[in-house]
């Protein structure tokens, strides 16, 4: 068949296809109910797309002009982008992710998680204990201004309305915790791509810093307000740091020891796992920021209540990660 005939035979189809792409590939909210007004029904798009693919193959095979082939190629490419578009996330999928997939994924990366936990908790506990024996060592970690600000925030004699902050409203602190903590969580993961070095560094640093504050305040007798403050949000926050560190370590391992996969393949797989873990970390840190801003800072709640709630949160988090998605049959996700 000569090109001109081919073209005149299918011209109508191509313009219809182009119009459908323009109008129906992302219909405006008010036009969503209309089905292919003046073009063809949305349900016929796959058929139209496959026909177009066949026509492109024919045009290439028969050596039709570059311009025609290019035009068909553009249409196919645009159709391809619509045809293989990712699904919009559904509520069911989101619930499933947090109830089933995320805890399973954490358990599946057990080795990385345990390594991250050790890297974080060893310096954490170490610096708390060390500062009880040699309190003066705190000056090697923090400068005098930082120390003064910590002491100010958790001074038992303070008449402030809130603990854990020098000033600021609940909403301000919530925003600040989100920006700060979640960004740290994200960077801890990303740092893992540098052969895991970034994650290891952040985990150890955070262990030393957080342990340093805790140890110092306990040593100087400000432990009461401090532990009351951190009891509620420490569960999600510290666990999230460890998980994002673990996510970073597993991507680092994929680079160092890809096993029987090519390094590129291993990185892509580890990246997908890491992104899912980071999504969970994100949710945990948002929850932690909320608790930290609106619950932990309240002064008048007595210590036993705070510690009980904190304990319940810790147990709930660990139970979730340990048991979540264990009894459910696998849907093959």
């Amino acid at each position: 068949m000569k090109q001109e005939l081919f073209q005149s035979r299918h011209e109508e189809e191509w313009t219809a296809f182009a119009r459908w792409l323009d109008e129906r590939s992302r219909p405006k909210a008010n036009a969503r109910a209309l089905d292919g007004e003046g073009v063809f029904p949305d349900g016929e798009f796959p058929t139209a797309y496959r026909r177009l693919c066949q026509q492109l193959a024919l045009a290439e095979r028969r050596g039709y002009s570059a311009k025609l082939v290019q035009r068909l190629r553009d249409l196919v490419e645009r159709g391809h982008l619509v045809f293989y578009r990712p699904r919009a996330p559904r509520l069911r999928r989101v619930v499933d992710f947090f109830a089933v997939e995320f805890p399973r994924l954490v358990r599946a990366q057990r080795a990385a998680m345990i390594a991250a936990a050790v890297l974080f908790y060893a310096p954490f506990v170490g610096s708390i204990l060390l500062l009880q024996v040699k309190p003066e060592l705190v000056h090697t970690i923090f400068g005098p201004e930082q120390l003064a600000s910590f002491e100010n925030m958790y001074d038992p004699a303070s008449k402030a309305q809130r603990i854990g902050r020098e000033s600021g409203s609940d909403l301000m602190m919530f925003g600040f915790y989100i920006l700060n903590n979640v960004s740290i969580g994200f960077r801890t993961f990303a740092g893992g791509l540098v052969a895991g070095v970034g994650s290891v560094f952040v985990l150890i640093m955070n262990g030393v810093m957080i342990g340093g504050v805790a140890g110092h305040l306990t040593a100087i007798g400000y432990g009461g307000p401090f532990w009351r403050f951190v009891a509620g949000h420490s569960g999600p926050e510290l666990t999230a740091i460890v998980i994002s560190g673990g996510a970073g370590l597993q991507i680092g391992m994929a680079l160092i020891a890809p096993g029987r996969r090519s390094r590129g393949r291993a990185l892509v797989e580890a990246g997908a796992i890491g992104a899912k873990l980071v999504l969970g970390v994100f949710a945990m840190l948002v929850f932690a920021a909320f608790v930290e801003a609106y619950w932990s800072s309240i002064v008048w709640i007595p210590a036993p209540v705070k510690f009980t709630v904190g304990g319940i949160v810790w147990i709930a988090i660990l139970l979730w990660l340990w048991r979540g998605g264990r009894d459910r049959a696998d849907h093959g996700s």
Partner: protein
């Protein structure tokens, strides 16, 4: 190395041609996005300043969204195009040419952190310049490409001329070349057209403007016009 075309075979048996974008247009797109984000931040900071300390909190939330959420939302919901990429006619796609997925977009944008190291996207730039498909580290791990969003080509525009049948049987590629000559004629000066037509004395058996006309006639004949 010079050719930036990437061929991807789709399940329909079609080879998609993706033209990957180099570092320069991507830097421009990034700069555009940065500008837009600063403008939004600046516009809101004036409003939020009125709200005092709560305003500071909202400002932090806004900054967080612009930093981490903005690229992912635009890339997934707007066919792989942040406003900056749209301006530069770029698009993020999966390595197999399909639209970028949530997880892939999250990975490539989280790993920006590493591409920015040690300063000013140095890692990303080196990776991009060293890679045949111009991927930064985040793209490599996410399995994504940044490609040019093609602009649709127009219909065939061979000038009308009386059909002349070629004196010899032409191969497929030769026929395509003659038709392309006709399609591009409008972009060439008459002198250049004659120069090109003069390369085929065996086919046209003529000189100058007549040769051009005969070639166009052959293009018409090959297209099936009478």
């Amino acid at each position: 190395m010079l050719d930036t075309l990437t061929h991807v075979e789709t399940p329909e048996g079609i080879a998609l041609q993706l033209r990957t974008a180099g570092a320069m247009p991507r830097v421009c797109a990034w700069a555009m996005d940065a500008l837009i984000r600063f403008a939004v931040l600046w516009a809101f900071s004036a409003v939020l300043a009125v709200l005092g300390k709560s305003g500071v909190g909202l400002y932090a939330l806004l900054l967080f969204s612009l930093m981490w959420v903005y690229p992912v939302l635009f890339e997934v919901l707007r066919d792989g195009q942040t406003p900056g990429k749209k301006f530069m006619k770029l698009r993020v796609v999966n390595a197999n040419g399909t639209p970028v997925t949530w997880i892939a977009s999250i990975v490539r944008n989280l790993l920006r952190t590493v591409d920015m190291l040690p300063f000013g996207y140095a890692f990303g730039l080196v990776a991009c310049l060293g890679d045949a498909r111009s991927r930064r580290l985040g793209d490599m791990v996410a399995g994504t490409l940044v490609v040019y969003a093609e602009t649709p080509a127009g219909a065939s525009t061979v000038p009308q001329a009386p059909a002349v049948h070629p004196p010899v049987t032409l191969a497929l590629g030769e026929r395509a070349a003659i038709i392309e000559f006709g399609e591009r004629a409008s972009q060439l000066t008459p002198e250049r057209q004659q120069e090109l037509a003069a390369l085929l004395p065996m086919l046209t058996r003529a000189n100058g403007a007549l040769a051009v006309q005969r070639l166009n006639g052959m293009a018409n004949a090959l297209l099936g016009r009478r």
